[in-house]
Symmetry: C2
Subunit: 475 residues, 2 copies
């Protein structure tokens, strides 16, 4: 079997950027900044028609002038110039490209003609390419980021392949705040050559990828998609958003990536056959893929809920039932055991509600441990993750009228987080959390996330992610 | 008609705190910090059995010792002591109370007996009270915050009445990041006396409140709720989350607030009769109530979508169709007009996609204005709100290799935001936005939100809020 074309595109030893510039109105400028400053260990060749230096690097006028055939060429030049650039690259010996430029089949008749020309030129030289009309790729493990947005989170285990470049790049601050990092991210664009099936095949063998998120406006090779996804989803869960199944979604997709979308019913059936979980929105896509890339499958439907807040306890319980999860009332023996750690005003039935208190070890470690050891549930949801942030805030507000021993509070939750992680891992049961805060506000949330314990901002998001962990286990 | 009991509870001239302390393990400590430091303009009386000074204030041992009958007494003392405290307060002439303490009917037989005693004592003196088992109230317009969480956002126009105190308080950082402020917030607890019907009646006449959010585990007075909500929702939209309709949700609610919940179907019918929009989760509850409190109703189903990103354009279009909204293809005349502002690689059909570019005025002002003036839509959704944050980040990353004129970028988006607000207001048509960032990351998002233009973190949230603006208009 020949090497998957994405292998070299995501792991090049050298990259040439056609359209690299110093001007801030040009996309190539931002892409070169990110490749150069993001720590890419290979060689970088800016290509510019008349500048000798671009961003401090020697620039080249044409492919012919490059000192070597680059492993990867990224092309962001005016639409009409793209086929010629590809021709030059082919002659220079380059065999992998990313075509960023838009203006092809998504814009109508003339663009369609240009896109055919692109494909023919590439075919003549055996060039495999992503796009056109895409935004590049991110491999944080190399690292390489050919997109126009800076990648500033930790490398993760969730891969993304997307018909939208925005969902690869514009979401980076959104994902960072939620502790979500990519293993690989691939902007597919118009899929004139490399498509989502190639991406699935590549990601199946990618060692950093444990779950796959897809944003789809269309599936162009239906039977191949189903066959490949069915095989891949057995070991790596796949979550997909599909937005082409409505009149307006289909029309917008055709303006965006030239997609000819199909009905929701057909896609639902295809996803079901392929073992692909369909998410209803982008929030769930990222949430679920993150949970699936870090947590084990939920081996059965029984979930424990542990919190210090009655409202979230009830929201979580209600949402569990709505998403096919059970919240079994604990056995009298287990309730009796838990009551040693739960005040009289709380509840030990499941949900466990310890009510207002400051004993974080009971809430986030001792109680979960007892529950997991009981064997009465298959997984656990915790609400209210937080460290000393609340106390720091109250200390600030109190203006010295109350004495908070903040120096004794730090670090303790780190220990709890690590122990919780160890206990759940040992039990081989998933844990997901929620808290109405993010890691920028409370570092403990970041510690949970970096240990692979998803911590979402609302209780219902935690439940839906746990639901995904159950459904993925059924494939 | 006698004054609604919540009038005085949310606007007291004096507050006594039973259970106020200097100890950081006690909830009353945090409540007193917030009342004292939050700027409450009235008198504050800590009540403590044996301390003479609490948080720097003179403390009183019992109700009898207070220098006046306080307008409001907040009680957070051990469960068994509550009826006695209420008795003392009644004798001292106090007629309004908030009972924070838990341990009543939500815990079983004995608690139920104590709760009856509480009610009888209050009844003897004509004391009207919130709770027990609640978390206090917030009136940011006074200001008064009797809860244990600091209130640090701007006063808003969305009121919240909730069976969960957590959804009043723990969410404050979550709401702040989203630009959402309360007009009033009321933690209902067990509703032994004052209940959600009283809250609706109070909020109907409250001048700072334009929309009402409810978190419900039960409705105890069904017919009165429907009658009152039907009347109130004609002028102030009401959104509700109900979590008692599942086995686990109902069970959890009974442990939480002693609620005997009813089936989903009955509640759906009740909400429909009452003109109450039912939200599926807390995210939607806050999102919708915020939009409804700041934006006009959507007068018809036709929505325009404007963005620089093809993915969000397609997600928005697809989600619109799924939520009963239309995304009509624009007339040839309007498309022609828009094409002057849209590059050849973009689309003017609706969604309008201007693709990558730096002309924020075209995107967020000129194009929306032309569309609104055309009369072809009833409302508008914009994706990609953002100012110079992206450029600042790229400037930092570029390390001087590219020259960004950051000094020329600031302030421009403020002008655009204000003009957009003016244009939409003049057209009397709603506008909602999305961007994968929050106001802490990009101040322009905060400017939009503070003008009353909701800006959500995902496209689908914007669509669902627009859907709420349509449904509320039908009441």
């Amino acid at each position: 079997m020949s090497e998957n074309p994405l292998e070299r595109i995501l792991n090049p030893r050298s990259v040439a950027i056609f359209g690299a510039s110093d001007k801030i109105t040009t996309m190539g400028t931002y892409q070169l900044i990110n490749i150069l400053q993001g720590g890419f260990p290979g060689k970088v060749y800016p290509v510019h028609p008349n500048k000798e230096i671009v961003q401090g690097l020697k620039a080249y006028a044409r492919a012919q002038d490059l000192p070597e055939a680059p492993d990867l060429a990224q092309i962001v030049v005016p639409t009409r110039s793209v086929p010629g650039v590809l021709q030059d690259l082919g002659e220079r010996g380059c065999r992998r490209a990313i075509v960023i430029s838009g203006g092809f089949k998504e814009t109508g008749e003339e663009g369609m003609k240009l896109e055919r020309e692109l494909k023919e030129t590439a075919g003549r030289f055996g060039i495999r390419f992503l796009g056109p009309n895409c935004i590049g790729v991110i491999n944080p493990h190399l690292p390489l980021n050919t997109t126009m947005y800076h990648y500033f989170q930790k490398p993760g285990h969730m891969a993304l392949a997307s018909h939208s470049g925005t969902y690869v790049t514009q979401v980076l601050p959104y994902l960072k705040k939620r502790g979500i990092g990519y293993s690989r991210a691939i902007s597919l664009g118009n899929e004139t050559d490399i498509d989502v099936v190639d991406a699935l095949e590549f990601l199946a063998g990618d060692e950093d990828t444990r779950a796959i998120a897809l944003y789809l406006e269309v599936i162009r090779r239906g039977p191949e998609f189903i066959k490949t996804a069915r095989r891949v989803s057995r070991t790596k869960p796949i979550v997909a958003v599909y937005v082409g199944g409505t009149e307006a979604g289909g029309r917008s997709g055709s303006s965006h990536t030239g997609a000819m979308a199909g009905s929701d019913e057909i896609y639902d059936a295809a996803f079901a056959q392929a073992g692909v979980l369909r998410a209803a929105d982008m929030q769930s896509l990222y949430d679920w893929a993150f949970a699936l890339s870090e947590q084990p499958r939920l081996p059965g439907p029984r979930v424990a809920i542990v919190t210090h807040s009655g409202g979230p306890a009830t929201s979580l319980a209600d949402a569990c039932n709505r998403h096919g999860l059970e919240v079994p009332e604990f056995s009298p023996g287990l309730q009796k055991h838990l009551k040693e750690l739960v005040p009289a005003t709380g509840s030990s039935r499941n949900p466990v509600d310890v009510t207002f208190g400051v004993d974080m070890k009971a809430l986030f470690l001792d109680i979960p441990k007892i529950i997991l050891e009981s064997g009465e549930v298959d997984g656990i949801i915790l609400h209210g993750v937080g460290g000393e942030a609340y106390f720091r805030e109250m200390d600030r507000v109190a203006k010295g009228n109350v004495n908070f021993p903040l120096d004794q509070m730090g670090g303790y939750m780190s220990y709890i987080a690590q122990e919780l992680h160890r206990v759940c891992k040992q039990a081989e049961k998933p844990v997901v959390c929620s808290a109405f805060a993010d890691r920028t506000e409370d570092p403990v949330i970041g510690e949970f996330q970096d240990l692979g314990i998803p911590c979402f901002e609302t209780p219902e998001q935690a439940v839906r992610a746990m639901g995904a962990l159950m459904l993925a286990g059924r494939g």
